[in-house]
Symmetry: C2
Subunit: 305 residues, 2 copies
């Protein structure tokens, strides 16, 4: 068995397109597909300043590496969320530091506990009725945006891969979350000069591929799942979609691309803006950021703990 494009030994078989690829051609393909997504969705170009949120995981570290390699102006931001169970945040941070040293790339850090007095573990102790994944999501989005504005970046990039996107899509469809279905996209445009443009350049790259990319590029990454995510619906949906993929190769990618077409053709035609469904946005009374309520989600969390 040979690589499709040269005589080297293949390291991977991409089933949907039935491609056997050697190390170099696999790495090239991941970079190509990512480049194409960046272009197709008009994510950014050489004039943009891109802040990449890194968690210490395979996706975000690979993304930072890859965007840097492609020559974009980019820098990582690590948010230490203060997840103390199984020393998760500390462990993740170790991988981020290793990456930074190995590839000589400075990475900003933000320590939630130091800055706000409480980390995720503290918050969850105080508010048993909160869902950790929701709290964490609100905090990360807020901080990423805040730091990017402070440091004069104009685009936020996250490492969400195809599996992340389809599992989220699946959940949104099973429960027909209208607002989310309108909103789910590899690109969210800037709003009111306050919420920066957000992009997901790995939206067409599967989880297996980002893992292999990281491995082949010598990127070490945290392998443990977040201690709070064990029962998360996302993992359940990912398993289901893996079964669908096994049954019908390429199903995930078709499902996702098909959705984006349908979204454009139907959802966007009927409602032009997210706010038409979700309501008009106001300014948070505490921090001034856009919010649907009087006080934004982030400030509400820290008001209450």
């Amino acid at each position: 068995m040979k690589c499709k494009f040269c005589s080297d030994k293949p390291v991977v078989h991409l089933k949907p397109s039935n491609l056997y690829l050697c190390e170099n051609h696999f790495l090239e393909r991941v970079e190509e597909v990512t480049k194409r997504a960046i272009k197709k969705f008009n994510m950014f170009d050489n004039k943009d300043r891109i802040l990449v949120a890194v968690s210490g995981g395979k996706d975000s570290l690979s993304l930072l590496y890859l965007l840097n390699k492609l020559g974009y102006y980019t820098r990582g931001l690590y948010i230490n969320l203060g997840i103390e169970e199984r020393e998760y945040s500390d462990e993740s941070f170790e991988y981020v530091k290793k990456f930074s040293e190995k590839f000589h790339m400075d990475i900003y850090t933000y320590n939630l506990k130091e800055e706000k007095g409480k980390g995720i573990t503290d918050i969850m102790k105080h508010r048993k009725n909160y869902k950790a994944c929701s709290v964490c999501g609100i905090v990360k989005r807020y901080i990423m945006n805040k730091i990017a504005l402070e440091k004069n970046f104009n685009v936020l990039a996250t490492g969400h891969n195809l599996d992340d996107e389809v599992s989220r899509l699946f959940g949104n469809i099973v429960f027909w979350q209208e607002g989310y279905l309108l909103h789910q996209n590899p690109v969210l445009e800037e709003e009111k000069n306050k919420l920066l443009k957000k992009v997901k350049p790995f939206c067409f790259i599967s989880e297996k591929q980002t893992a292999l990319y990281a491995y082949l590029r010598g990127i070490e990454y945290v392998r443990n799942e977040c201690p709070y995510s064990i029962d998360a619906k996302t993992i359940f949906y990912k398993n289901i979609l893996n079964r669908v993929e096994e049954n019908s190769s390429g199903a995930k990618l078709r499902f996702y691309k098909g959705f984006l077409d349908i979204q454009k053709k139907y959802f966007k035609k009927v409602h032009k803006k997210y706010t038409e469904i979700m309501g008009e946005e106001k300014e948070c009374k505490i921090c001034g950021m856009p919010t649907l309520k009087e006080i934004c989600g982030f400030c509400r969390i820290f008001e209450r703990v």
Copy 2:
């Protein structure tokens, strides 16, 4: 433990609504929910003549029984498809005859092999590249419609239950089958006086409920799966949706009802008619029935074998 509405012993626990129901209240509820679907979707009323397609299975026999009990003008039609493997068609027919005798209801029969010279088994022997489920679907829809027109019925009812509907919906969504998504509905209106109105009164009743309804009403039914359906995608999707339902009780019903809302709000607003996506319909050159090609699917099958 008692029935929610009386002091009798429950025979069933309907998890999504957390209802424990005795035999009588369960039967009443199935009839109530069916009546509500008939009304909500304007399926038919006392002036209509309804032909119910019966297969010998739990869903269609229960539907015929129930519609009759509710006082509608209705009659069953059994199509003997000539599935000879494991004597499937003969066995199904036995259950239809038993039902007819036990409940004193005449049922029309149509024998594909006698009328057209070939049954499904013969067709599949000749055309290895055909998918049995597709052939069978085309044949059943055609014959049901033909017999209904001949016998002066104006509505066709089938026993499709909630599980049938959601598994079909799931498949159509994973592959974003635009035309089917626009078309999938508990009611398909009459077209050009030739394709009669088609309705699915059990669209909100789960498979488990139709099985229990049949059992409690003393309806015996064929329990073997069709020999051709063993690998069918529908069964795979049903399993997946059962897992989703286990994980989140009531998910199937919400998924289906939510879809119908979204369909109305988005899909129907952009395209008003199925034919706008699928193309204009012509008349079949052989039989004169509406078709997207020169010759309709039914005539094509019998032209080639």
